[in-house]
Amino acid sequence: MEKLIQILTECCPGIDFANETALIDDGLIESLDIVTIVSELMDAFGVDITVDDLTPENFNSAESMWDMIQRLK
């Protein structure tokens, strides 16, 4: 999880990824950020993320991204 927060912070500086739970709904990250984030996550965690995984539910918080990574491993 710490590695995930570090990656997210490098992709989108200035966002409190440890505590925010509505990253998409509040517009803190955008679909354009998601492409950047997904690319880094696939590289760092060795998972295959597909278009079907690019849902707001999977990216609204660091925890939901972490759960997605665990599911895909």
């Binding site: 709904d25 509040d26 517009g27 679909s31 354009l32 492409v35 950047t36 278009v51 079907d52």
Partner: protein, 254 residues
């Protein structure tokens, strides 16, 4: 360019583009991709440096891109009358504009995004309407450049009308919007004869009453002072995102 028939194969192709450093514009979601494939309007071209997806429209193509290596040439020219919108944000310096300029594209419009926060409890519900789509389509096509206006196809407008996603004043003014986790104004049009009567602002106010429980967005021309004034008067403010629309269309094509 190949017409895409197989969603699974396309999905795998897109996943291969998710590499650190990839440049992309708006990503088409799974549902949008499936709709385009079902209509037969999605084309794709993959090469070692990226992937182009083209949505075919009656007068032009809309390009979505994933660029992983700018030094690798696509090997195939994009069709004439292709339009691409590049996202611009201070935190995302984008080299794609130079890349598309090298492919013969030039900028035709700069857009700015405005956002409105959650307002509270909705004061009005969205209701479907039985207004005929034809005059509304005519109004949209008269008011917007088809290349940059993101105009709906006739069947999309029919769906939006029945779902209550189009607010109208007869057939002289309309506001079309999408309604999901965020609401987004897609077009706002008032026929020239009725301008200056506050119709645009009253449609945006009604949109605000319907969508008060979620964040709302709108993209508008950076130079469109009339629209910027209406949106800002109704609680929208620029949020930092801009875009550049580029095309390889020749001027004399209209």
């Amino acid at each position: 360019m190949q017409t895409v028939r197989d969603y699974a194969a396309l999905s795998a192709q897109i996943s291969r583009q998710f590499r650190p450093g990839v440049l992309a514009n708006r990503t088409l979601g799974a549902e949008e991709l499936r709709q385009e494939i079902a209509r037969g309007t999605l084309l794709a071209h993959a090469w070692e440096g990226g992937l182009f997806l083209l949505r075919r429209r009656p007068t032009h193509f809309i390009l979505h891109y994933y660029l992983t290596d700018l030094s690798a040439q696509p090997g195939q020219a994009l069709p004439p009358d292709t339009v691409v919108e590049l996202p611009l944000h201070p935190r995302r310096p984008d080299k794609a504009a130079d890349y598309f300029a090298s492919l013969g594209f030039s900028g035709i419009l700069r857009r700015v995004r405005l956002a409105r926060p959650v307002l509270g409890v909705p004061e009005e519900e969205a209701h479907g309407t039985d207004v005929s789509p034809e005059p509304l389509l005519q109004l949209l096509h008269a008011q917007f450049d088809a290349r940059t206006g993101c105009l709906p196809l006739p069947d999309e407008l029919v769906d939006d009308l029945s779902a209550g996603r189009v607010l109208t004043h007869g057939t002289d003014a309309l506001l079309r919007f999408s309604f999901d986790r965020t609401a987004e104004i897609r077009q706002l049009a008032v026929s020239p004869a009725l301008r200056g009567q506050g119709l645009a602002r009253s449609l945006v106010a009604r949109f605000n009453r319907i969508t008060a429980d979620r964040r709302a967005l709108v993209w508008t021309g950076a130079e469109n002072q009339a629209a910027l004034h209406v949106y800002q008067a109704e609680g929208f403010a620029p949020d930092g995102w801009q875009s550049l629309v580029m095309t390889n269309q020749q001027e004399n094509h209209g």
